[in-house]
Amino acid sequence: MAQKFSLDSSKCIYCAGCVSVCPVLALTLDETKILCDEGKCIACGTCEKGCPVAAIKITKPK
């Protein structure tokens, strides 16, 4: 299955804004990396909308 959460790390400023707005605690900031627990992610797109540098793309599962 395709990944729901994808991040362009060349844009990311690792501010963890996405972690703050994720409603299901699927995201973690580990130093400069955003990690997504794909099992928890519900592909709601909140992180994509909130990201200040448009670094996130959410793909809804088909």
Partner: protein, 396 residues
């Protein structure tokens, strides 16, 4: 360095709130550990770095000279068509900080008081004993460690992951956050004022700020409503493009940004064996998104309650409720008024902004900041009665 794992309290996050709690609790004899997920406390900076000078006296802190980038005399508000109100009173004096140093100094003070501090340590889950919080599991230098304490304090900032795992409703919605982007720029001609540019076009539901960090260096940032559906970086770039008088020679030396609560504080700060302080509890000013002073204040209040609980050997919610009661009495009402103001200001069009800024003066702005809205709204309504629908709520 040998790491100890048994404490009276474990604090998550060595920001201003966490370090303040650590310092005060350790000074009172508690064995405290302050964890921070970053290898370097205070990074990455996610804010405009401003703090009022009177905060030092209010909070009982001393900002060290090398943490002060510049001294501020007041604030200026710019309307979309360039009208300005300048506000300069003893209350508007302040500093633009070097957060990386400011936060580190507070952590050092916590160490001096006897607290343990451990950077580069990511808390990954809450530990429980008999169904109650009893510590955290964390990763430090590749090793999973169980830190145990009868009290866990979340000073986690916006992420608030362990607080949410503990059952606190600290989730941030897009409506109640601002999404922010900021350049630190050199080559910006600066005056000793923090400048705020309002525009529903360039900063929907927020504003652009220029906070000087020296004669020709400034934090140039933007915060917009999280649900505005726009990219703050793109809007800030447009603002910079439209203001060559400020930015024709400016170049960025650092990129910063983040998401900040501009809503109400969370509905509960205390549970058995768990406290939430500062930005993790959404204790943030809804107008400017500032939370440094509020976090320090909450850190002090929470530590008072924690020390009482420590003396009794009982960290139940009941025993620590004084922190929340005191906060909701002393701080809550003021922030609630500011939230009401935010919800009104976000409805103003650019034309409304031009009118409002054009029809009020410095004394009026001072009143607004002090929470005395009524006389100022009345003045604005004389020349634009149609704004009653938007501003009327502030007349109550």
């Amino acid at each position: 360095m040998r790491i100890q794992t048994e404490y009276d309290a474990i604090v998550l996050g060595a920001g201003p709130g966490g370090s303040t709690f650590g310092k005060k609790a350790a000074a009172a004899g508690m064995k405290v550990l302050v964890l921070d997920k970053k290898k370097e406390i205070g990074t990455p900076v996610r804010c405009g770095e401003g703090i009022a000078e009177h905060s030092e006296a209010d909070l009982g802190i001393k900002v060290l000279p090398n943490a002060v980038a510049s001294t501020i005399e007041g604030a200026r508000v710019f309307s979309p068509n360039g009208k300005t109100i300048r506000l300069k009173t003893p209350n508007t004096r302040g500093y633009v900080l070097e957060r990386k140093l400011f936060d580190k100094h507070l952590a050092m003070d916590a160490v001096r008081a006897g607290a343990h501090v451990l950077p580069h340590t990511l808390a990954i889950s809450l530990l429980k004993k008999d169904g109650k919080p009893a510590g955290v599991k964390a990763v430090h230098m590749g090793e999973e460690i169980e830190f145990r304490a009868p009290l866990v304090v979340s000073a986690e900032g916006m992420e608030a992951k362990i607080a949410r795992e503990a059952g606190f409703d600290a989730k941030a919605t897009l409506y109640d956050v601002d999404t922010c982007f900021e350049y630190e720029m050199a080559g910006v001609p600066c005056q000793p004022y923090i400048d705020l540019y309002f525009s529903s076009r360039l900063a929907p539901r927020g504003y652009v700020w220029v906070f000087p960090k020296g004669k020709d260096v400034a934090n140039v940032g933007i915060g917009i409503g999280g649900n505005a559906g726009q990219n703050p970086k793109a809007l800030l770039d447009q603002f910079i493009h439209e203001h060559p008088e400020l930015f024709s020679k400016a170049q960025p030396v650092e990129y910063k940004g983040g998401i900040i609560s501009v809503g109400a504080p969370i509905n509960e700060f205390v549970k058995d064996n768990f406290l939430v302080i500062g930005t993790a509890a959404h204790q943030v000013d809804p107008i400017h998104g500032g939370g440094i002073g509020l976090a320090i204040q909450a850190g002090n209040m929470a530590a008072e309650s924690a020390v009482e609980a420590f003396k009794k050997g009982d960290y139940s919610k009941k025993n620590m409720a004084a922190y929340e009661d005191k906060w909701r009495k002393q701080v809550g009402p003021k922030l609630a008024k500011r939230l009401m103001l935010r919800k009104v200001l976000e409805k103003l069009s650019d034309d409304d902004w031009n009118h409002v800024v054009g029809s009020i003066n410095e004394a009026d702005l001072d009143k607004v900041l002090a929470g005395d809205y009524k006389p100022v709204v009345a003045k604005v309504l004389i020349t634009r009665p149609t704004l009653l629908k938007v501003l009327g709520v502030l007349m109550g």
